[in-house]
Amino acid sequence: MSWPPSLLAGFAGTLLLTSLEAGAQQLHLTRMSMPYLLGTAFTASRDRAKVIGFFTHLVNGQLFALLYVAVFRATGHSGALWGALLGLIHSAVVLLVVMPLLPSLHPRMASAQQGPTDLRQIEPPGPMALHYGLSTPLMLVVSHVIFGMVVGGLL
């Protein structure tokens, strides 16, 4: 595995994914913000959370890009189309597994069972992240598919 192209692909894919999510937020299609959710795991300050979350999201993107590369090597397939397929699977895992688990994982996220507390006040994403807006699942799928296409296409 060649590290520099993998990291570059991960960087480009994450940047595009983050931009798509931010664009969807600004178009009022969703209130989902991965950088904000990641950042608030470290700090309660809204502004600082966005910055910390952005960089955490970039690092995550690099790690996922490396994971994608490992899958490409293991399966012997690569390219934008296979990347898109991996992105689709990735988004399904995020929507169906990670989102329901998030209230248990995130130190500042409220849960439906306990409601908000002094420490846990962030609205949980709910099933398929629908609490953040009806378009959220679609936005997550599209952005991850594009992430996969970029990573697969650049390698």
């Binding site: 937020q25 600004q26 009022h28 299609l29 969703t30 209130r31 989902m32 913000s33 904000y36 959710l37 608030t40 700090t43 309660a44 300050s45 809204r46 502004d47 500042r108 409220a110 439906a112 069972q113 306990q114 409601g115 908000p116 507390t117 002094d118 006040q121 962030i122 609205e123 949980p124 994403p125 709910g126 609490h131 953040y132 807006g133």
Partner: protein, 610 residues
Amino acid sequence: MTAAIRDHAIVGDCRSAALVSRGGSLDWLCWPSFDSPSLFAALLDEERGGRFSISPAGSFRSERAYLHETNVLRTRFFTGGGELALTDFMPVSGSARAMRPGQELVRIACCERGEVEVEIAFDPRPGYGRRKPEIRSLGKLGLRVDAGSGDLLTLVTDAPLGPSGCARVRLGPGQRLHFSLGYTRGMPAILAPATAARSQAVLEETARLWRLWAARTRYDGPARDMVVRSALLLKLLQFAPSGAIIAAPTTSLPERLGGELNWDYRFCWLRDAALTARALFGLGHREEAESFMSWLLLATSLSLPRLHVLYDLYGRMPGPEKELGHLAGHSGSRPVRVGNAARGQVQLDTYGEVIEAATYFVRSGGEIDRPTATMLVGFGREVARDWSEPDEGIWEVRGPGSYFTHSRVLCWAALQRLCELAEKGHLPGAPAAEFARARDRIRAQVEELAWSEQLQSYTRTLAGADVDASLLLLPWFGYCPADAPRMRATWRRIRQRLEVRPGLFRRYFGGLTEGEGAFGICSFWAVEYLALGGGTAEEAEQSLRTLIGYANDVGLYGEEIEPRDGGALGNFPQAYTHVGLINAALSLRDRLEHGRQGAGQARSVPEARA
């Protein structure tokens, strides 16, 4: 039934505001900012506007007050069986580290004596009541309402409130209900827990911060409580991100009940810029005054070389005026309007206001930088060229323009101040001689054409036959002494024609003003005229006391005062009426402390620093 205008009190967080009635009903709320579409607007339409009401079921009597020197409202309900206290406020926080909803309004209902059955009705209608949204309950995560454009309204409470939004709860002594109403745009919501501990903590923090701010008010003259209340209102209505001060947080509250004089006041008018700057600097609220000046200079620089009549919170030209035909209007006063058509008018007096405000900034120790100096000189050139043109004047009379005396005098004030600033070195390169010539021509015209021998008064328009309360400002802008013979005669004529009850003045008589009330700020101008030397200090003090009697039970004024019953008319509460109160009180204090010569204040401009 929707409560009368004066039966409301305001709570806010320097970004947005809500009006709560004596009956515990949240009748007006726009989020996320003052000029956003409403979420609750029962004030404008009882049926379709939407409200969030918390009150005892059945009959009750209520009293209310702000917690001492805060914008935290407490309403006490007295029923046959007990007493309920309802506390309303928008949290403000000094800490950037705390996790808080984007916007939040906290309501705490506490049974203080006996037993009270509390009735709750949560009925939001986003977008000026255009739709009745579904209320979804997520159990302990509270209620959620799609506020439109992807925004979310949430209500977290320990009351048993379901998707119907209605509930009745019986409270015994000491029992409480807590409500956190929140609003989120573009981010996952922050859901504040509706617990006693959290509600009490934000209440104490909010009250502490308001008191800390109020304690910085440098005023110990007559009516201190009302002056501090007015300052707190100005602070609440100052949009923190930009420094703009909105005229009022509401739209279309009628100037004449059942009439058409219904305007959107959620903008910033230049016509009161000088008075506002003086009020803030005069009370020692330098930070707010400088923030307001920054907004003023930014806004005016965006429209160079012309000045608009009004600007939005960020100094931009407001959107076009629209009528909301689906709303019935307050007491049937239609149409309800959003936006303001006055944005396209010409008001020559605005130049005088902006330049006078800048002069206050200099008098208070501020320094004019080179771009601002260039801008002010540019305004001066506009005035020197256009002062003789017709305009719509301070009262924004729609239709063809007129030759208003007040506009002329404000053009005179603009040029006079520029000459003073230039003389002291604040405006390098200013054509002071050209400004002085234009200034002298204006005075000559005013003295020749705006004085009526027949009326024995300055007149509303050149060669006119009517008076106007804005003429009371001539001494304020230094055009003439308050005790000058012509000014004294004008005062007598204004009292004769415009004073509808002792202390209450209409702005002028005309087709548009028929049926409207006395203008709050004009009435305070009269107090200030007396304080500046037009009368005795005792007369000014008596007039001030009389006017204070027309404030509502929590010390707030609308734009107008109904002379028959003292009710409030027009948008509410009105920042400029309170600016008038502060300025009248400041001038009266100076008069009491320093006599007649002190009432004119220190008007000299200091030398520019090298």
